[in-house]
């Protein structure tokens, strides 16, 4: 029973990283300029690397010969438990940077706590990932500031990205049954305790960027229970196409 909860916990963290990696990879060859194209591809690779570590671990917990690839390519939309913000469409460049900024700030706090996990493998993955997230955060927060104080148009676009994505941020700090069980066993992180610190980080950057944090916005949720926005299905149909059309195909 405990092992099944750990499996679900690790799988959900793997899904977050995988879906964000796939989203970022959709910028390849499409970014505003070459350096940014390379930056987004690099961050995407880091997220795929993180997803690979987590999904391989989840696969060993599941047993029965299940592989990380099975988990990535052979599950349906409702079986993915990534939180909704990770699957939000790329939109324009500001939309992508704001999504990344919110998530990098979250990862910074979350991974720091996860390094203290009683589970050695999760702690090791967190120690590895946190160094990469520090780089990602520097990149995304600088962009939010640059867009905020840039032109009137960039300011409007980045503010509207913040306003549109805000409703998905509260889910980051929710705790479901599995989260609570993992927290009790000193394996998981108390996400609800990270919110205040997260808001502080967001506020500091937004102040420098002359941008406003939305208030009184209706918050949405459901990703951890497999209830997604209409965008995840399209992402999966693209990501899983090859394995669906040619099952078990290898390079």
């Amino acid at each position: 029973m405990a092992k099944d909860s750990l499996y679900k916990y690790v799988l959900a963290l793997g899904d977050d990283a995988l879906i964000l990696g796939q989203r970022l990879s959709q910028w390849a060859y499409r970014a505003p300029f070459l350096e940014e194209d390379i930056a987004l591809s690099n961050i995407s690779l880091d997220m795929f690397g993180r997803a690979n570590l987590l999904l391989e671990y989840a696969a060993t917990l599941k047993g029965n010969g299940i592989t990380a690839d099975d988990l990535a390519f052979k599950r349906n939309e409702r079986q993915f438990t990534n939180r909704i913000l990770f699957e939000r469409p790329n939109g324009n460049f500001a939309d992508t940077m704001v999504r990344q900024f919110f998530l990098d700030a979250f990862y910074k706090l979350f991974l720091q706590k996860l390094t203290g996990s009683k589970d050695e493998q999760l702690s090791a993955i967190a120690q590895k990932s946190i160094k990469e997230t520090a780089y990602h955060f520097r990149h995304s927060s600088k962009w939010v500031i640059r867009l905020g104080v840039g032109t009137a148009e960039s300011h409007t676009k980045v503010q509207s990205a913040i306003d549109n994505l805000w409703m998905f941020t509260n889910e980051l700090f929710e705790m479901n049954e599995i989260d609570n069980e993992m927290l009790q066993q000193k394996i998981g992180v108390d996400c609800s305790s990270l919110k205040q610190e997260w808001i502080k980080i967001i506020d500091e950057v937004l102040a420098e960027a002359t941008l406003k944090r939305p208030e009184n916005i209706h918050m949405t949720t459901g990703g951890r229970e497999g209830i997604h926005t209409e965008h995840l299905g399209h992402l999966l149909s693209d990501m899983q196409y090859l394995q669906r059309a040619y099952p078990d195909a290898k390079w």
């Binding site: 930056a39 995407s44 570590l53 590895k128 520097r138």
Partner: protein
């Protein structure tokens, strides 16, 4: 037939495997090989990835396998460790000199141009052609160069 081999021989062999993306340095130079040991005649090599998404990592593992088997070593296992996480602190000064000679500024908080040593440099992009490098420009000799990120 068991060939008598020491861990020193294995380390020497691993030192001949270049990093696929920065061939001036070996996988040992970069600190990717963490440990080599024999347990009851079975060789165990422990390696660690630089960046978790580094696409060269699986290639490095294949290269280790290829080199071992070319040398007739078949009784081995390759373990991957994540903790402690890889750090550029594992590179010694000789390795940093090799990087510099190949035009890459070695990991340092004070980045200097590998061509003219000037510290008047600016970041072009925090993300370079590989996960481990950032792109810089020298403001004195005007040459662009890579910096091996300090992590």
């Amino acid at each position: 037939m068991v060939k008598e081999i020491s861990t020193t021989v294995i380390w020497e062999l691993l030192k001949t495997i270049p990093d696929p993306e920065i061939p001036a340095v070996s996988i040992v130079d970069l600190g990717i090989v963490r440990n080599v040991e024999f347990n009851n005649n079975q060789l165990k090599i422990t390696i660690t990835p630089t960046y978790s998404g580094c696409p060269a990592f699986s290639f490095m593992k294949e290269e280790i396998v290829r080199h071992l088997e070319t040398d007739g070593i078949t009784n081995y296992q390759i373990d991957i460790s994540l903790a402690p996480p890889w750090t550029t602190d594992w590179m010694n000064d000789a390795v940093k000199t090799k990087l510099k000679k190949s035009g890459i500024a070695p990991p340092s908080l004070e980045v200097a141009c590998p061509q003219c040593e000037s510290q008047q440099v600016e970041v072009i992009s925090e993300f370079g052609s590989t996960a481990c490098k950032a792109l810089y420009k020298c403001l004195d000799c005007l040459e662009p160069f890579h910096h091996f990120k300090q992590i």
